[in-house]
Subunit: 296 residues, 2 copies
């Protein structure tokens, strides 16, 4: 990292301008960065270009222009392609460039990226986020960062344009490991929230009144207070898609298996979300878990 690179007025590449990525790249533009963008579906970068972002036709073209490149993609396979493909970032990034993967992806892939980047004289960080589309829009993301401390310090000013709760969790992979902790806690709690409301209904109670009695105490959780009312109102529209959550659950299970750590709650969540997908709810929000636990 050069002195110049630690300032906010830098040249940043942003690959992956979906709902989350578009908001995040927008904050970089607002923060004074020059932003080069690439996205598989070009039209999804239109709004950013109207705000001054510069379109590039490939990840390689982005890499050739930028000292910092952020990726915000879908699946680990997408990450692998953008980093390791022939036209990818590892092969084509400028000397001393910093690569930041903000996709929720696998810890072992994050470690591999860091290793291969280092072999090329590049810096790499894994920096997945939580906070969803609203957190991205309002620059209030929680950002969990893995990688060398000096790289983290160098890009912290950039991250502060996008998030509020930014924690360096440790070496390469630690950001992804932390995000998996987040998803593990959510997955199992969603079972409890769904079962509590399914039981309330079956017992003939008013689910609204039950929520009023239990949400402020030891049963309280973000999911109970935010997704509970949606379940009660029959609103299964996506805050966070079942299909994306399933991706995260699978990554977490694979990672736990690598660590030889049995996670029975997470395994149960996977099998229940498989049922959610089997009934055609993969494009619903994660609260659709209720549909397979509730019995009329």
């Amino acid at each position: 990292m050069t002195e110049q690179a630690s300032k906010k007025e830098k040249v940043v590449g942003f690959i992956g301008t979906g709902i989350m990525g578009a908001s995040m790249a927008g904050h970089l533009l607002n923060g004074g960065c020059t932003v080069h963008v690439y996205n598989r579906t070009k039209s999804r970068a239109d709004a950013l270009m109207s705000k001054g972002a510069i379109w590039q036709d490939t990840p390689k073209a982005v890499a050739e222009q930028c000292e910092v490149i952020i990726t915000m993609l879908g699946y680990p396979t997408d990450v692998e392609e953008v980093y390791f493909g022939a036209a990818g970032l590892i092969e084509n990034a400028k000397a001393n460039a910093v690569l930041i993967d903000m996709t929720t992806s696998s810890p072992s892939l994050a470690k591999r990226i860091a290793l291969e980047a280092a072999n090329k004289g590049l810096a790499a960080l894994d920096a997945p986020v939580s906070g969803g589309d609203i957190g991205a829009k309002e620059a209030r993301l929680s950002i969990m960062v893995g990688g060398e401390e000096r790289f983290f310090q160098a890009i912290l000013p950039l991250l502060t344009l996008m998030g509020k709760n930014i924690v360096h969790q440790g070496a390469a992979g630690a950001g992804q490991f932390t995000k998996m902790c987040n998803q593990i806690a959510i997955a199992t709690n969603m079972i409890g929230v769904s079962e509590a409301l399914a039981y309330a209904k079956k017992a003939g109670l008013s689910q609204e009144k039950v929520l009023k009695s239990i949400e402020t105490g030891a049963a309280g959780s973000w999911s109970l207070s935010n997704l509970g009312p949606r379940i009660i109102n029959g609103d299964f529209s996506p805050g966070f898609y079942v299909k994306h959550f399933m991706k995260d659950i699978k990554i977490a299970i694979e990672s736990a298996e690598e660590l030889e750590l049995p996670l029975p709650g997470l395994a149960l969540a996977r099998s229940l979300y498989e049922q959610v997908i089997a009934i055609g709810e993969e494009n619903s929000g994660t609260q659709a878990l209720y549909k397979v636990l509730s019995v009329d």
Copy 2:
């Protein structure tokens, strides 16, 4: 209920003066009630007697003195004995007396009490609480009430001496059903909290830092923020005993079976808490679940 009985300055019986009950009965004394007490272990009522409570040697003796009788006991079998025993409340309560069971007990037992009470011209309510010893001490309990609306309205002034979030949930049993919703949500979430922290440790992360990243977002919960730090510090002392939680889990599972509602998360929680008890942790706090999910 007479006019007199709806005022706070009434004659109340309190059976079961353990940690919770002693605090609750103390609030009734402070609120101007005359309080007759009985407890299996008399010494646990000493502090209340020094504040003016009147000792009675049996539940029957309490029943003969009082227009309202509150029970705060341990197990459903204790409730059965106090209500249905030969020297019990149903047999010996004064005409028009109101019986309030604040024990966490089974919904079907609450319905049976209400029915048998009605047959004798007595009123009965189930009114379990959440908020623990601190909530009891500070009169901030959440109180979930089942039974006839007119009985609820009549004793609401008494309940407000002990709690803040007081909700009439429906007919007899509805209070216990609601408490079971609370315990179901807690039980499954405790698995998620424990697995997230076990995974964090196994991945070599700092559990403190992970908590900082995840507790304010969608993974956030009362248990994560209140019991997570205890787990991290190796503090497994009881806020709520494993053995008491296991009692509640069993009641919830029996009740769900009666309703023909499968609750796989709760079933998993039972099997995991059985393991917690098997390793000798029944007198630890519920966060000891971590011990059977964490792997060194």
